[in-house]
């Protein structure tokens, strides 16, 4: 299983690719930039979806579905949106194929040319706000709190499985509000939903902040984000929540009659996370032995493997194991009992270790005699022998413990990789030799941000929320600054 598998130190990028491919998470398809999400990878996405969907519903949102295609002209309606989104995208120009008269398969039927080209959605603000125009008439129709689970396409030139693909799966929330305050409140609420999901489900500590203007969503007044740190010291944007002001309402003429009987433009937010989170999950916790998954998102949380020589032994072990499996399942824990005789125990140990199953139970004839079971945890690779009495509660606690440990480990790592830089030389030295998040002063101009990016490939990941006034001077220009922002090289 793990042969031909790079270590993180050798080649982090290769380690990641090997892991994704060999752990049956995803693979490249015959279509450039589009991935196949394999069953094991998709099972993690299903767990993420279920947890997020519940959070969205608990905060009052409902799901709906809008068209895959967007008329080209829609993109031109919001001036900055078109710059950001309507460029590298998949364009549908025809709606029919016909048999090649030369007998070589099928060719595009030139007579079936669309009057207006359709864009495969890169994000759905335009088509959704075009729809909202008829849905929103009065203050009674607000707030409108809608989410969509969908596929989107952005024609990326350099793609990496999960992290950057031409097609990806995501959810996009699109809400409409009567006031600016309510919309900002919603933007911040959903950022916190994402942060909570990252920290408590993915075991991934995140910084909460806003983007600098250069990094803002095309069409937003303010973009909030959560930023995580990967094991190679690079940052990864894990989710964004945008306050869109009245930009889309004005572009698509969405007005409502207020309680005071006045026509007002509607205030908007949008927010999204994608299958990119699976890439973040892999990179945050996994090690040179393969995947490490936090119990809350692991498709299989516990695997039980029997060790036996005779059929009689297997029968006795199976009786015990199946009882434990059932009891664990009653607690809502997902368990697999692998008694296949086509694979040896050693092969199974490697397989489940590589796939990141959080807890492995092994039962042999001696365990039966002693009323014990061998328990291994994937995060620390520690083994221990447990008495069987009340084993289900012990396993339940162990899973919680593993979840907490992964979070703490990731947090400790992030702390160890978080620095302050007070001069340009220090900044460059930290970037090159330590990586991670660097808190530094910046003069607040897009030009400086751009120059820093060009010279170091580092970008402002976020302006931290609730940061205190902390006067200083910009690391590049020496001009005054009122607070530090967070720089990093990023995915």
């Amino acid at each position: 299983m793990a042969k031909d598998f790079s270590s993180r130190d050798e080649n982090y990028a290769q380690w990641y690719n090997d892991l994704v491919f060999k752990a049956d998470m995803a693979e490249n398809s015959a279509v450039r930039g589009c991935m196949v999400i394999k069953p094991y990878g998709y099972a993690i996405w299903e767990k993420m979806q279920a947890a997020l969907d519940k959070k969205f519903k608990d905060t009052g949102h409902v799901n709906a579905y809008f068209p895959l295609f967007i008329p080209k002209s829609f993109f031109s309606k919001e001036a900055s949106h078109v710059e950001g989104f309507a460029k590298e995208c998949a364009v549908v120009t025809h709606y029919r194929l016909k048999n090649d008269p030369d007998g070589k398969g099928v060719i595009v039927d030139e007579s079936a040319k669309l009057e207006e080209e359709l864009i495969v959605r890169p994000t759905s603000e335009t088509i959704i706000w075009d729809t909202y125009r008829t849905w929103i008439k009065s203050y009674r129709d607000l707030p409108l709190l809608i989410n969509q689970w969908a596929n989107v396409v952005r024609w990326e030139m350099r793609t990496r499985l999960f992290l950057r693909t031409a097609e990806f799966l995501w959810q996009e929330g699109h809400t409409a509000h009567a006031t600016s305050e309510e919309a900002v409140e919603e933007t911040e609420r959903m950022l916190e939903v994402y942060a909570d999901f990252a920290e408590n489900w993915m075991a991934l500590p995140v910084l909460r902040g806003t983007k600098s203007p250069n990094e803002r969503f095309a069409g937003a007044i303010e973009t909030y984000c959560i930023e995580a740190l990967m094991q190679d010291g690079k940052a990864l944007q894990a989710g964004t929540s945008h306050f869109l002001g009245q930009n889309f309402a004005k572009a698509f003429e969405v007005q409502y009659l207020s309680k005071e009987n006045k026509l007002e433009y509607v205030w908007a937010t949008s927010w999204g996370v994608s299958t990119r989170l699976i890439g973040a999950l892999i990179m945050a916790h996994s090690d040179d032995n393969g995947l490490v998954l936090p119990p809350k998102l692991a498709p299989t949380q516990v695997v039980i493997i029997p060790i036996y020589k005779t059929d009689d032994q297997l029968a006795l072990i199976s009786e015990k194991a199946e009882q434990i499996m059932k009891n664990l399942q009653d607690k809502g824990i997902s368990v697999k009992y692998d008694k296949r005789d086509t694979y040896k125990p050693g092969w199974k140990f490697n397989e489940y270790e590589f796939k990141g199953v959080p807890v492995r139970l092994v039962m042999g004839p001696r365990d039966l005699e002693n009323g014990t079971v061998e328990v291994s945890r994937r995060d620390t690779l520690e083994k221990a022998v447990y008495q069987l009495s009340d084993i289900e509660t012990k396993i339940e606690h162990l899973l919680i413990n593993i979840q907490d440990n992964l979070y703490q480990k990731a947090l400790d790592f992030r702390e160890s990789k978080t620095s302050k830089a007070d001069s340009w030389d220090e900044f460059v030295d930290l970037l090159d030799n330590k990586g991670g998040f660097i808190y530094a002063h910046w003069d607040g101009t897009p030009e400086t941000e751009q120059r820093i990016k060009e010279e170091t490939k580092a970008t402002i990941r976020c302006i931290p929320l609730n940061s205190k006034l902390d006067e200083g001077t910009c690391i590049l220009t020496g001009r005054p600054s009122k607070g530090r922002v967070v720089f990093a090289r990023a995915y």
Copy 2:
């Protein structure tokens, strides 16, 4: 609410459109043929998905995700598949837009033309079997039981909300097997999963059968289907399950090494149901007062409405109502307590009746005094006063009763609309004056089937499973037949 709403007798097609639109199920979008599924319609789809997904997993399937785009050349690889699918479809030819030099928005960048056009998937057999080639090497890799939840696009010229749209949501199962027998068994198993879902969740009785060659899926050896009858006497194909033989394995060179160490082509099935089921659900049960939903798929199963004059009364009723709501929710029943003061009770009655909420509870001051509640069921529109003692169990039973009643009513309707025709005149008369399913003899040739379709618009809906030998003569040609098949006009 229900004003401007056609009755079924007046204009069935208009009644359907009105219902879909006014009950907030779906609407047409700015993109020709693509619908917006509104939150209430999508909530039904989510319930359908959850029930089906569980059935798929209970029968050993896992989910995965394959690309939205398929290279054009893939369609030419399976000869009959290309005829059926690669014609009316959305074709992506370019991957970039650019600013119009005339300053009028964006135009297609002609320099960004794809070398090979991409087709937006109309169904995924080709891309999936291209992927399976690397996944399947040995008999140990079989069976491969995979399902995908996805959007697909077929460029339909005449579209109707849910029933026929350019883009629709569906699931497509694609399985691979070592033997023909196993693949046929899977095809039949999934047909039964669909039939069970239709009958026990949608309360929709269905005929199980196979398609005649003319109606078979492009690329299949045998297509199994379930056929339901709508209230206008027209049939609707509610799901299909295809035995694909080795056609796709041969087209995409998917072979496995058998236990006997021989290279063999793999056997395939595919099966799918779509958002069309929502159209079937609406047309099967709803009436001139609006939607009627079977409790198992109703987003809200019970609504509680207070009737009061004073705030004190409301407080007392709310206390009771919220307790009932909580108790019902503990039983897994979805309940809404609508105490909004912006709408009158009468308006609410109409609203929930129109939206098909199965059970309505009304509580007024007199109910409080008497320890009663007024209970209305949507299916029969009957009202009764219930004692509050053990009200939750009574409601639970009532919901089961409504579910059963809807099924029985639909079954009775179908029986009343099922006939036998022994002559051409009788056949035409039944079609024109009664509608429904007509069992008739057919000589087994595609030519006769085609002629019958041209002359009457009726098609063979299915050759019923397990039909007994029943010799007769074809209604059109008088040639011998060994059994009756089911004809109907269909959606």
